[in-house]
Subunit: 214 residues, 2 copies
Amino acid sequence: MLNFSEIKLVHIDDHLLFAQGINSLIGNETFINELVHAQTLAEGLRIVEELQPELILLDYFLPDSNGIESLRLLNKTSPSSKVILLTMESNPDVMEKCRREGAIGFLQKSISKKALLEALNNALQDIPTFPITVQSSAETPNSPLNILSKREKQIADLVTEGFTSAEIAEKLFLSDLTVNTHRRNLIHKLGLKNTAQLVAFIEKLKFSEKGSGV
Amino acid sequence: MLNFSEIKLVHIDDHLLFAQGINSLIGNETFINELVHAQTLAEGLRIVEELQPELILLDYFLPDSNGIESLRLLNKTSPSSKVILLTMESNPDVMEKCRREGAIGFLQKSISKKALLEALNNALQDIPTFPITVQSSAETPNSPLNILSKREKQIADLVTEGFTSAEIAEKLFLSDLTVNTHRRNLIHKLGLKNTAQLVAFIEKLKFSEKGSGV
DNA sequence: CTCACAATACCTAAAAATTGGTATTTTTCC
DNA sequence: GGAAAAATACCAATTTTTAGGTATTGTGAG
């Protein structure tokens, strides 16, 4: 295990019992200088803004947000912090979305102490930690989506969910002009014609690539 | 079997051998007054326009068109003619589309003489003849699409394929204003927001209802 | 250190979709 | 026959998307 010092870690989770567990598990690790807990995303954002921690452990389900939205806001508040998601049960699609939102890890809460520490160390070295139980549907080696950049995939997803460019821009803290550029590029890259074809393309992929690795 | 007289039938099929087979099978039936054969859709349209036949037997794959486009053009040329599709192999989705395009029957070419005559008689009495091997995906008893009218379903399909309102209007011989009205109504009926959500909705239905009856 | 690519953002103009109406005709059903 | 639903079509205004550019900044690979 590598040697880091002065590492600040913020744990955002509304389950107090689990938070205490985390605290007793890794609170005494020498490489962790500060371990702060928040019960809501709002509280977490305040703390993260002040501390600018190296690491964030984030519960996927929070009373005032979900993992995807939380990732966006945390990234906005502290772009340099590495965020590792914690969930009770893992869905490959959810995991994939988190990866696209910039999470550096995705762990189930049933994980061992050893594995958790490994994930934290990995994160500090910029090494992602994602379970490989199920090949993520959209990251299949030969998926047509691989010609798209991360941002483009992310925007393709949001378009498919029915958001307009202005709404997507707001979510991702971008100019709607930027979102338009990405939309144009991704439609062009995929050889498509318009939004309808893009959505149909994405939806078909979801289903055609589903079940292959499960 | 009922008694019809003066029935004109046009058979449009590029396979001459099969056309001869049809001719020898039903050419001598007393209820058929005239049986004309065409090898292409273009030729078929000319003949149909002139004859205004009661019945049309239509091959799904033609050198100059496919079943869906052919149905549209035939319906435009002679709205009162009943069209029965003939295909080598039947795909339930294709069948469903033909039904929506106004076909009154859908038969495999491997059908028996008896069944063919039955389908013809049915058609003359306005009774549809469709194989029930697989429950059609979009006509499932409790499909959310059942709140849509035929036209709306048809337009929803075309939107999902990426056609603009203007293109759909041209295909269906409608005003684009009409197509816009249908689009508005169907999005509203389904409680959706925009084209992207409509396409996602339709695509998801295709997959969620698939396999249930196969 | 470049070179390529990704991500960002802007301008302009045209095309398309959406919204909110209304209205007529045709079909379908009781 | 009469009511309801479907299909058709129009007007007008706004929003959104699409298409043609350009340009700057950051980042990762070689």
